[in-house]
């Protein structure tokens, strides 16, 4: 007796059928794929680019490029992995085009921002809606401490919840390299947090 396919395998099989229909030029099938994946593409682009408008433009561009390249997609990897790969490459190209990417260095973060990061890290986050609105800026400041590649790894792994293997597939990196870089990226973030804490103490003394 054949074992019933797991729900995950069934979903993957269903998605493969939709991808095949889209490859034959069925735009309704492609629209279904867009609906399924747009949130995660947008989240990855937002995490890397850190600007909502740019992330939206890039996400649209990604989905258009994916449509054009769809006939060449050989279904050897998951459709989502393929899409993430396009997303990460497109973000990378976008950053290169942007050239003078505004770097928020540690010394450029305001005392106030540093204090808020410290508060957030220390007592479980903001409760005040106005302060919560500033969270985007703080995330931007924090993630800007990392190199492009470390930020991509961190966003895919911690924000999008992908496995180390998936991150490696998307970024064309060895699994061990992903693990090491991930580990170091987190360590860098914590160093920043410690420095933010120090600046808070210094400010308190003044």
């Amino acid at each position: 007796m054949l074992a019933a396919a797991s729900p995950k395998a069934q979903a993957a099989g269903e998605e493969t059928q939709i991808v095949r229909r889209a490859q034959r030029g069925d735009t309704e099938a492609y629209e279904e794929l867009v609906r399924r994946h747009q949130r995660r593409i947008f989240a990855v682009a937002s995490g890397i680019l850190r600007q909502r408008e740019e992330a939206e433009d890039v996400a649209q561009q990604v989905l258009l490029k994916a449509y054009i390249s769809l006939p060449r997609f050989d279904l050897r990897s998951a459709f989502s992995t393929w899409l993430y790969k396009i997303t990460v490459n497109e973000c990378w190209d976008h950053l290169r085009r942007r050239k003078s990417r505004p770097q928020v260095l540690q010394s450029e973060l305001s005392e106030d921002q540093a204090r808020k990061v410290e508060a957030l890290a220390g007592d479980g986050g903001f409760t005040d809606p106005a302060e919560r609105a500033l969270q985007g800026d703080l995330v931007e400041g924090l993630l800007a401490q990392l190199t492009e590649q470390d930020r991509r790894i961190l966003v895919l792994k911690e924000v999008e919840g992908l496995s180390v293997r998936e991150v490696g597939d998307i970024l064309n990196l060895n699994v061990n390299t992903v693990k090491v870089r991930l580990f170091r990226a987190r360590a860098h973030l914590m160093q920043f947090r410690v420095r933010a804490g120090r600046s808070k103490t210094k400010r308190g003394k003044e």
Binding site: T27, A121, Q135
Partner: protein
């Protein structure tokens, strides 16, 4: 896996070369034996224990700081699909523009190939003709140059062959 460093329990920075193992530990991806060995090591190695704590806190910080991104919604989907349809019509337009050109190019290619084949055949035919004319001209010249000696030469040749045969019989 290089367990020597782990098992020695030396609190040295060299242990940190095994960051990948610490990552597996955080992810719960180690085998029970590897997990137990690493915990034993962590209880003796300050740098590794601190690095692990840092990583754990870093993950927590990122997750706390990052607000889950909401689905960009139907408006976004419609924008994407509008661009997709635009692209489709551009491709179709290109195809309709290129199709007659492609047909014309194909016809030109076939015509050129036929013309080349005809030229080659004509050249070969002409070369054969020229050769045939040259051969007949040569025969004609020989006939003209040696018109009377030919029968004598033929008779001489017969006499010579007869003499050889006789010699052979003797």
């Amino acid at each position: 896996m290089n367990w020597r460093n782990w098992k020695s329990g030396t609190p040295s920075g060299a242990c940190l070369r095994n960051e990948a193992l610490l990552e597996d530990y955080l992810e719960g991806a180690l085998t029970p034996k590897a997990h137990w060995d690493l915990e034993a090591h962590l209880s003796n190695c300050g740098p590794c224990a601190a690095a692990l704590e840092n990583a754990r806190a870093g993950t927590d910080l990122v997750r706390r700081l990052t607000t889950p991104v909401a689905d960009p919604g139907d408006v976004f989907t419609r924008r994407v699909m509008a661009r997709v349809r635009d692209e489709e019509s551009k491709i179709e337009e290109q195809q309709t523009w290129w199709h007659p050109l492609e047909t014309l190019a194909m016809r030109l290619a076939v015509s050129s190939a036929l013309a080349v084949a005809l030229l080659v055949s004509a050249a070969a035919w002409r070369s054969n003709q020229a050769q045939a004319v040259s051969t007949s001209a040569q025969s004609f010249a020989v006939d003209r140059l040696l018109p009377d000696s030919a029968p004598e030469l033929a008779a001489g040749s017969d006499t010579l062959m007869g003499a050889i045969a006789e010699n052979h019989d003797k």
